[in-house]
């Protein structure tokens, strides 16, 4: 399909490459593939920001899990000296940021903790502070984006991933779980995990997971990776496999023990050592691979392209900001002038 645009003295013909042109063959080496290296270099130099939120009742091992995931003391408990465990009266959000580096790649990791969630007797609307926080981050980003003088790199404090801890009851989702995930699933990528999974046997675990998956489907809750955002068949196959095994049953620890002459991370009990990174024992390795090694960029992309855009559309519609109404190329009044009718 040819599209012809004529504007004054310039005539531009653009051939819509999708429809008309097949791939043009190259007769020899050009060097286009070097762009991959260039991109790699730039990413490494720029570093990345990742914001992860952990939600769940106190005592489920959230801080320990995050420390285990990132192999360093990133949670708020480890940061505040003389920390006393107190159950707070309302849900408060605590953000702690660190810069970690691996093989030249710098990452600014922010862990947002939610102490007090689900701990009260009356837990009505306990998700509200969290929803507010998530939306506040989107708002901050939106404001920065709408500035005239924009920063070269807008600081990204949006929540990329929310890990929701389900207590290992072995039955089904509780009302608080359903309510929370329903609401948050619309605005952020939720990854549910079964916490302290060493209290379930393998069979119990499978049943529990199956039950949870059914409950999630019955309530229309979309967790990461969402089916609708799969872009190509390969991705779909990969994500289907992941979807069949969520929620991951995890165990977290930062203690190391000797097993068969190797040092492994594990929890030592009288009846054995639960190896955290052993896939036969628990699914921590799967979670870590999903979050960090394979889908890190995807989490950020889904947040930016989908959740943030949804927020933006809603916000701009609310405040009636319709730029096309104003007509960007010429001031609107000149446009409306031409429609003067001659009586």
């Amino acid at each position: 399909m040819w599209t012809l645009q004529s504007c004054g003295s310039v005539l531009t013909l653009s051939i819509n490459a999708d429809l008309a042109r097949p791939c043009t063959d190259l007769f020899g080496y050009v060097g286009i593939e070097a762009v991959l290296d260039q991109m790699r270099r730039k990413t490494i130099k720029a570093g990345l920001e990742f914001n992860i939120m952990v939600v769940g009742q106190s005592g489920l091992g959230k801080s320990t899990l995050v420390n285990t995931l990132f192999k360093s003391k990133v949670s708020r408990k480890s940061c505040t000296p003389n920390y006393e465990e107190k159950i707070s009266k309302t849900v408060k959000l605590h953000s702690v940021s660190h810069v970690i580096e691996e093989k030249g790649v710098k990452m600014k990791l922010t862990v947002i903790d939610t102490p007090g969630f689900g701990d009260q007797i009356n837990n009505d609307n306990c998700w509200e502070p969290i929803v507010k926080h998530v939306n506040e981050q989107y708002e901050k980003y939106l404001r920065e984006e709408l500035h005239i003088n924009r920063k070269r790199r807008i600081p990204d404090s949006r929540v990329h991933c929310c890990i929701y801890f389900l207590p290992a009851t072995g039955h089904r989702l509780r009302p608080i779980d359903v309510e929370f995930m329903k609401r948050l699933g619309k605005i952020v990528s939720i990854v549910p995990v079964i916490a302290k999974a060493d209290t379930l046997t393998i069979e119990e675990r499978q049943e529990f997971k199956e039950q949870i998956r059914q409950d999630l489907a019955a309530n229309g809750i979309r967790v990461y990776p969402q089916k609708e955002y799969d872009e190509d068949p390969e991705e779909r196959i990969l994500n289907d496999r992941i979807r069949e095994s969520i929620p991951f049953a995890v165990v977290g620890t930062d203690k190391e023990h000797q097993v068969n002459g190797n040092k492994v991370l594990g929890r030592k009990t009288k009846w054995g050592i639960i190896e955290v990174e052993n896939v036969a024992h628990c699914e921590f390795a799967n979670l870590r691979d999903l979050l960090i090694r394979s889908h890190l960029q995807d989490l950020k992309d889904v947040t930016h392209d989908i959740h943030y855009e949804t927020y933006r559309v809603r916000r701009l519609n609310e405040s009636n900001m319709n730029y096309s109404e104003l007509g960007l190329s010429t001031w609107p009044l000149e446009n409306k002038c031409e429609s003067d009718s001659h009586l």
Partner: protein, 427 residues
Amino acid sequence: MASSDDAPQPYKGVRPLSLAGHVGFDSLPDQLVNKSICQGFCFNILCIGETGIGKSTLMDTLFNTNFENFESSHFEPQVKLRAQTYDLHESNVRLRLTVVNTVGFGDQMNKQESYQPVVDYIDRQFESFLQEELKIKRSLHNYHDSRVHACLYFISPSGHSLKSLDLVTMKKLDSKVNIIPVIAKADTISKSELHKFKIKIMSELVSNGVQIYQFPLDDETVAKVNTAMNGHLPFAVVGSTEEVSVGNKMVKARQYPWGVVQVENESHCDFVKLREMLICINMEDLREQTHTHHYELYRRCKLEEMGFQDTDPECKPVSLQQTYEAKRQEFLVELQKREDEMRQMFVQRVKLKESELKEDERELQSRFEQLKRLHADEKSALEEKKRLLDEDQSSFGKRRAAAQLLQAQSLTANGKKDKDRKNSGFM
């Protein structure tokens, strides 16, 4: 005006932490690269130069392919731009390349406005990106970026200095696009002349304040190469798609009676340098500069022109929304005013028309009366005539009757007389 953090700096105010083991986020650049491979890359080059200077040939040589080009005539009345998009494939990288050529540049008698179509084209691409970015429902990751990432400016190999057309055009474009000047048809200049020519060109550009694209020096891996290349600007290139056998290989070259100019021979011309700089090392940087520098500048100017500001006169930050609301009110007021004006005008016109029509009506009425009177007059005249005629007729009738009677009487009297005579005759 631009933000202070031009180069990404390590995160300030955040403590660094050491890792106790391998976490695995060093695979992020690979994840990113994989995603980009799926999506494909896009690159747009603008070639500015006089007709016949070798732009299309150089593009063919650079990308080792045969873009379908046709020769343009020298008689174009105005400068036009022709953009063509191609999908190129090399190993697993898909590149959507758009080559924009100027048609008729430098051919007109009066070249004062030659640069304008080029500037307009570049601005239009920025504009459409800005419009997409400001839409409510937008899809930026699917958007086909048509902004010009690199501009190759072809300098004709006179050997002396830049033409004034070149200077003017480059000055107009340097804040909008990354300019890479190249000396075309470099096989017409000898080595010593070339050296002097390059120095002359660079000093002219500097003295006229033209900002050409400098290869970036902030990344250690490529800083050395880039610094060296920066010293070789502008690149003297020769383009050719024909192959000539040299030694036992077929190379791209131009064959002359006195020798063969090999395109990929570094001692013959700078083509390899150009290809390396443009594609292999700095393509991503060119795209980044276009987006973060030139596009932001355009956006800022455009929005400020429309009256949006970040801070109001008291230097308090004004959100876009406030400005927008104010503008919207203004706009609505203006609209209302115009509506009233139009309504007034309408009422006036209606009145005028009404009075005209009334006037006509009256005229018509008077004419009607006049005609009616005329008609009545004629009618009465005719009646009069008729009456007279009738009278005449009746009087004539009477006279005739009288005459007949008389005649009849006279006849009988005569008859009697005759009778009497007859009778008297006998006696």
